[in-house]
Amino acid sequence: MNDTPVSEPPREEPSGEATTEQMPPPRRLLRSTGDRVIAGVAGGLGRYFGIDPVVFRIGFALSLFFGGLGALAYLLLAVFVPTDGDPDRAQRLGARLRALGIWRGLGLVAIAIVAFFGLSALAAVAAFAVGLGWGVPVAIVIIAIGALLAIASLRGGARWLIPPAVAIAIGGGVAAASDLDVRGGIGEREYHPTTVRSIPADGYRLGAGRLVVDLRGLDWGKHRVLPLEVSLGVGQADVFVPKRVCVTGTTHAGVGESEVTGERNDGVDVDHTPAGSRSTPRLNIDASVDVGQLRVINSDTADVDRPGFGPGPFHEDTAPLRAAEARACGTG
């Protein structure tokens, strides 16, 4: 037996230094100072993921049209992700927020939210005033604020006045351009006429709220042609007709959505002309909603209180409405 220990070749123990040399440093997300358009977020993301930053820029831009979550993400990344160079303004802001602590930071967020809703309320008041027919006075106020700002610029400026001025200008401008009219009253109005004579000659109007006109109780004789005017300033207008009635005429939504016999459109200045037909019975509608939603629902079973919510032919599947319209108008 040989007690002599067998010498084994020395094993190379991995040392920290060797590991450091062999392993690449962990990648860190940094905003780019060399490839930046706003805050270098897209440039940094592109470098981090090895993708062309233009892809991220397009993504952030597109997100503005889908709720703006991308803009919020961009803002957060700009504030809380450091740059690969000297700290910029956003990074200093992030450092200040971290230094403030959670409660103060939340306080600042609360103040920002209050300011946002305050400015929104100001815009709404301006829009409402224009809708009441005070467009000229509101315009004069906007011009006066603009002049005040210009005059104040000679005395050091009045920058605090810019946000409320912009809010009033946006509210008044949108209301004026969309011909907002809220003089027809405010609230929820529901009409179920059972005779043609009970329908007002100038149609149904409402300033703001929900307007429901249910024409399914009418005697729709085989040759009935009913002209109807519906006008709403802000809110939701729903017109119900039996599915055997052909709907023609024109509908207009200034800002919002129109859903006429299953044809859905949304956006700005949404005009829709239902299929031209001389089939009877026929509803010849002239309907407009300045801001909000306009629906003409050709269904015998739709619930007046909950059309478009929950199970049913609306929003989930509008094909039955389009098919009924095609049958009623003889265009299918």
Binding site: A152, V166, A169
Partner: protein, 65 residues
């Protein structure tokens, strides 16, 4: 940026932009102009964009990134 005359360019530009929007609202409300919502949106976005651009241009950077 404030020059020797102490004119606040941002307030001046914002005032001009706001006044232009006010003039459009006035013309539309008085019936002299029938501005569509699309064109008003262009005007409003232009005004806000001009104010933001002026805000950026008149800001004196503390350091160059």
């Amino acid at each position: 940026m404030r020059n020797g005359l102490s004119i606040d360019i941002l307030s001046l530009g914002a005032g001009a932009a706001i006044a232009v929007v006010g003039a459009l609202v006035l013309l539309d409300s008085a019936g002299s102009l029938d501005l569509s919502l699309g064109w008003m949106a262009v005007a409003l976005i232009g005004a806000v964009g001009a104010i933001l651009a002026l805000s950026g241009l008149t800001r004196q950077p503390k350091r160059h990134d």
